[in-house]
């Protein structure tokens, strides 16, 4: 059987998903179901003086209305910050209470005040309008940069400061800067974006009063995490009485890693009213209440020698984490951000200092790339600026500072096991025809357009992650992954994984791996995920971890199956175990033609007897059945890297910017399925270009979300992009047997700086994201003015 790893197998799941036969949470309905509609705060910051539900309770169809007082009465716990960060001075981070329904204060527009449960959605929504909430409006804190000097939102949190964190060595950086020929400085805004998964969040909770069991269907990237949080922290039901099912999920990008207030409330309410409670977000609710991404204000400096050698780097960032500390809200701007701050370079000294601030905006959490895009945007625009100021070619300055020896001990944390940064940049320059740029620039100029080119060389740390390491750093959970490989008696296979697919193509990629390992045809392998009652505990999908961690667990479980198969085959073939070899789905006795297929072995394991005589195919003491579980905890993160090159054309009269050429060369180690990987890279690039040119979450000064619909929030569309030119280099990862590195986030990490460097190269002025037409036009105008004054 030919190996499937490395081949472009078409996605098994697409037939279902593309023909409308996927089953999403909104498609799940129960008999006697009710509908929940949330009363949300229209104010960014207010005291709740009174919630009056009398009139609403009398509205037609209303079953129940629950408020923060009910949540408190029932002692339902608050939403949690999953990662504990310590400040530079050793003190613990400060986080406010976050009850699923607000009790006395609301802190962002969309914050949950009450839930109306009725027989139909329309009735619930109409009754919600009758809930009278008496607010005392307070002055909202919205702006990231000035948050520390603004009104204090929470009594116990001075300066609205969650933590003031440091990674690195200030003294060493100071020394390095003293030796510098030149110091390059940059001020950046990493704009806030709204995840916009195609499927809005949803929950449907069913309670069985006889068994006291809750079944919660929900849009989750991580159903086991949802179960443990809703059980252990919110206290809605014990883990054995809570089944969480994340069926087909239409995208998450990080925003569905953890449970929100709505899932907690629906589960709790279903138990209270003893009827199923269904909630499906409308698009406006998604804009308002999904956790947002990014939102950094950064000042960074790079100390260089005149020949372009980097000596030191510092990054001072204010990260807006919104109104509450969300589950991964505190790790995203720290351990996912800081360690990658120095990029792909040898950097003798560095530090990253992050002040995380609370504001009256939706909570900010992990969003595709989580921390690494912010880090990469900073270092890569700074390096490009250094090249300009030193009169060097941007490629040359990068090459000069790339490490060439691996493993490479990166400045701040990571020991990077493998990589070849020179190779990927060389390949990117070749594929992008870097040399031909000047000619293309002249051609654009003839059309009245300004053409710019921008580079980005990135590395990132993903495949999260070694549990002892992350727990030492404050993580409240482990980050290993599980797999169970279950042979059915007739020889086909179901693989249970603790990770979760919501667009990544696991049904295909994981099946390819298992097919190769077991020698079973791919069509005989089913991948099962998303149901806490089916597979073993797992940690879900995010941080480009599913393949390197979850895929490896599958390999390990297959190894165990094969080991058992060898023992059984030895008995059946009357040979010594050591003489049995396994390949292509067959157990063969060395130097003989005696063999058994893995299907025959599975059959024998499930039917261990022989007609007419007392005889078992199983060795003495061997258990029947053929099913193995493995839990894999990696020894290290994995470190994808690569170089992207973007070219843009700017119309100086209108400021409109078009990406006209885009090249991405990535090193993801071993590639299981290039088709799936290219899809992931396309999606990532598009999301990154979206952030660089179009997307922008805009709150006005009172904390109203102005971009709360697609009329105002610009999602990138297919006609915004050229064909992307993709290519790969490969240095296999050494931390997992597959040699894979993870590819889900790379595109979103590399593309914003590549695009912005291209824009700035075209117009010759520094501007921050998103480079909207008006912003670019203004910059072009200023240049014109400057030039005419100089002339």
């Amino acid at each position: 059987m030919a190996s499937l790893v490395g081949s472009r197998v078409e996605r098994k799941e697409d037939k279902k998903l593309l023909t409308g036969r996927g089953k999403y949470t909104a498609d799940v309905n129960f008999v006697n179901q009710t509908f929940a509609y949330f009363v949300r705060s229209p104010h960014a910051r207010a005291q709740i003086k009174k919630v009056d539900t009398t009139k609403a309770m009398k509205a037609p169809g209303v079953v129940s209305i629950l408020t923060g007082a009910d949540i408190a009465n029932d002692k339902i716990g608050g939403l949690i910050a999953g990662w504990r960060i310590k400040s530079e001075d050793g003190s613990d981070m400060k986080v406010p209470a976050h009850p699923p329904l607000a009790n006395d204060i609301v802190n962002y527009v969309g914050d949950h005040v009450a839930v109306v449960i009725a027989d139909s959605l329309d009735e619930a929504r109409n009754a919600a309008e009758l809930v009278k909430v008496d607010y005392k409006i307070l002055k909202a804190v919205v702006d990231t940069k000035s948050a520390m000097g603004s009104d204090q939102i929470y009594k116990d949190i001075p300066k609205n400061l969650c933590f003031d964190w440091l990674l690195g060595d200030r003294a060493k950086v100071k020394e390095a800067f003293e030796k510098a020929d030149k110091i390059i400085k940059i001020d950046l805004i990493n704009n806030r974006v709204i995840p916009n998964a195609m499927e809005p969040r949803a929950a449907n909770a069913d309670y069985n009063p006889s068994t006291e069991e809750i079944t919660l269907y929900t849009t989750s990237q991580n159903p086991h995490l949802a179960r443990i949080i809703i059980s252990a922290f919110n206290g809605v039901a014990p883990e054995n009485k809570l089944r969480v099912i994340a069926p087909d999920v239409g995208g998450g990008f990080g925003s569905k890693i953890y449970p929100y207030a709505e899932e907690v409330v629906c589960s709790w309410a279903a138990k209270k009213i003893e009827r199923p409670v269904k909630w499906v977000a409308d698009r406006t609710e998604s804009f308002l209440s999904d956790c947002h991404g990014r939102d950094h204000v950064t000042h960074a400096e790079l100390a260089v020698k005149n020949d372009g050698t980097f000596l030191g780097f510092k990054n001072e960032t204010i990260a807006n984490i919104g109104a509450y500390a969300s589950v991964f809200g505190t790790v995203t701007p720290t351990y996912l951000f800081g360690p990658c701050a120095t990029g792909v370079y040898k950097m003798p000294a560095a530090y990253t200092n992050v002040k995380a601030v609370f504001t009256n905006t939706a909570p900010v959490d992990a969003y595709r790339g989580a921390g690494r895009p912010e880090a990469t945007y900073t270092i890569e625009t700074l390096v490009e600026k250094a090249a300009r100021e030193l009169g060097m070619d941007p490629a040359e300055i990068r090459m000069k500072n790339f490490p060439t020896q691996f493993p490479f001990q990166q400045t701040l944390v990571h020991s990077v096991d493998s990589g070849d940064y020179v190779a990927s940049l060389n390949k990117a320059m070749e594929v992008a025809d870097y040399k031909g740029f000047e000619k293309r620039k002249r051609e654009s100029a003839n059309k009245g357009k300004l053409r710019g080119i921008g580079l980005c060389s990135y590395f990132e740390a993903c495949g999260i992650a070694p549990s002892p390491v992350v727990m030492m750093l404050g993580c409240g959970i482990g980050l290993w992954e599980s797999a169970e490989v279950r042979f059915n008696p007739t020889g086909n296979v179901t693989v249970f994984t603790g990770s979760h697919s919501h667009g990544q193509g696991h049904d295909t990629t994981f099946a390819q791996i298992a097919a190769d390992q077991l020698g079973v045809p791919i069509e005989n392998i089913e991948i099962s995920h998303g149901d806490t009652d089916k597979g073993p505990f797992g940690y879900g999908t995010y941080g480009s971890r599913s393949l390197t961690v979850g895929g490896t667990a599958i390999v390990k479980a297959c190894d165990k199956i094969i080991a058992k198969g060898k023992r059984v085959a030895a008995k059946m073939l009357e040979a010594s175990v050591d003489d049995v070899e396994f390949s292509n789905g067959e157990f063969v006795v060395a130097k003989s033609n005696k063999k058994k297929t893995i299907g025959e072995i599975a059959f024998a394991c499930y039917l261990p007897g022989t007609y007419g005589e007392v005889k078992s195919p199983l060795p003495e003491g061997e258990e029947p059945g053929l099913k193995e579980t493995s839990f894999f905890d990696p020894a290290n993160f994995s470190f994808p890297a690569g170089s992207h090159i973007c070219e843009v054309e700017v119309d100086p009269d209108t400021g409109e910017t078009k990406v006209v050429k885009y090249t991405a060369i990535d090193d993801f180690g071993t590639i299981i399925n290039p088709l799936v990987v290219e899809g992931q890279v396309h999606g990532g690039i598009v999301q990154g270009i979206g952030q660089a040119l179009y997307e922008n979450c805009h709150y006005d000064e009172t904390g109203q979300l102005v971009t709360a619909s697609y009329m105002d929030y610009t999602m990138p569309r297919a006609d915004n992009f050229p064909e992307f030119e993709l290519g790969f280099t490969c240095t296999p990862a050494t931390s997992n047997p597959l040699g894979t590195k993870g590819c889900g986030e790379a595109g979103a990490i590399a593309s914003p700086p590549a695009v912005m460097n291209a824009v700035m190269n075209a117009i010759g002025t520094e501007i921050s994201m998103p480079a909207t037409a008006e912003k670019v036009w203004k910059a072009c105008n200023q240049n014109k003015k400057k030039n005419s004054e100089a002339a």
Binding site: T284, T654, Y694, V706, T707, M711, D712, A773, E774
Partner: protein, 261 residues
């Protein structure tokens, strides 16, 4: 969504009779339905006029094109007659929203709604359109009264829009990158005895820029536009574009339109 009564009118007379101060006609529904769903509007009666055959279709005569009110954007965009007689009008229709919107939205609904950033109103002004209703004919200049405001009376139904065929014309639009409505749209049309420069998106209502029109009437070239100063006063300013940017775009597009004519 609040409940309402749904009527499917068989002819214009019935539709008009059913209408009241708390009713809306349902043409493409691309404005009405989202407004109801978002709770921005509620009606007691929704009067569907899509089934009225006489309201749909495109007819060309020597001097004008008459487009029925319920003709969809996609039909105008694809019409051979429109493409031949006034190509810029087909281009305008092609650039409205997205395929879903163009496959439902209608020309009558668009001008009845008179969104300040809609495309068709600029065509009406530039192409000296006459709006035919069930009771009268209205010149475009008198039809568009202000933001979301027209001279239509209660119960009055647009039956067709008649555009004069110009010597040359061109429409330039900077679409809102999010919604694809016009942040600024400039429709330049050169008729035998006059030039119109209709601007949409820039102010609270579509208008004919008299200064540009005058400059181009005496010298139909892009250099004539250079001499005209476009003030940003009265221009819309929002998160998508400042007044200053819109003023610039009016000028840039007027030039581009003239050059493309």
């Amino acid at each position: 969504m609040k409940t309402f009564n749904y009527h499917s009118a068989k002819d214009v007379k019935e539709a008009s009779k059913l209408s009241s101060s708390s009713s809306a006609f349902l043409a493409g529904g691309m404005t009405t339905i989202p407004s109801i769903k978002l709770g921005l509007a509620s009606y007691r009666d929704i009067i569907d006029i899509k089934g009225i055959k006489s309201l749909s279709g495109i007819k060309v005569s020597g001097k004008s094109i008459k487009i029925g009110a319920t003709t969809k954007h996609v039909e105008v965009a694809n019409s051979k007659d429109v493409k031949k007689a006034i190509p810029s009008l087909a281009v305008l229709a092609e650039g409205i929203g997205d395929p879903q919107v163009r496959n439902r939205g209608t020309i009558g609904g668009s001008i009845a709604n008179n969104d300040p950033s809609a495309d068709y109103p600029s065509a009406c002004i530039a192409l000296n359109a006459v709006i035919h209703t069930n009771s009268r004919k209205i010149e475009a200049e008198k039809f568009f009264k202000g933001m979301f405001e027209t001279s239509l009376k209660s119960g009055e139904i647009i039956e067709a829009i008649e555009f004069s065929i110009p010597e040359k014309s061109n429409y330039q639009k900077y679409p809102n990158p999010a919604s694809r409505y016009a942040v600024v749209g400039v429709y330049v049309a050169k008729h035998k005895s006059e030039v119109n420069v209709a601007v949409t998106g820039a102010k609270s209502c579509v208008y004919n820029d008299k200064d540009l029109a005058k400059a181009l009437s005496s010298n139909f070239s892009s250099s004539a536009v250079d001499a005209v100063r476009i003030s940003s006063s009265g221009m819309n300013s929002d998160i998508h574009a400042s007044g200053e940017y819109r003023a610039n775009m009016v000028k840039v597009f007027a030039k581009k339109a003239v050059e493309a004519c």
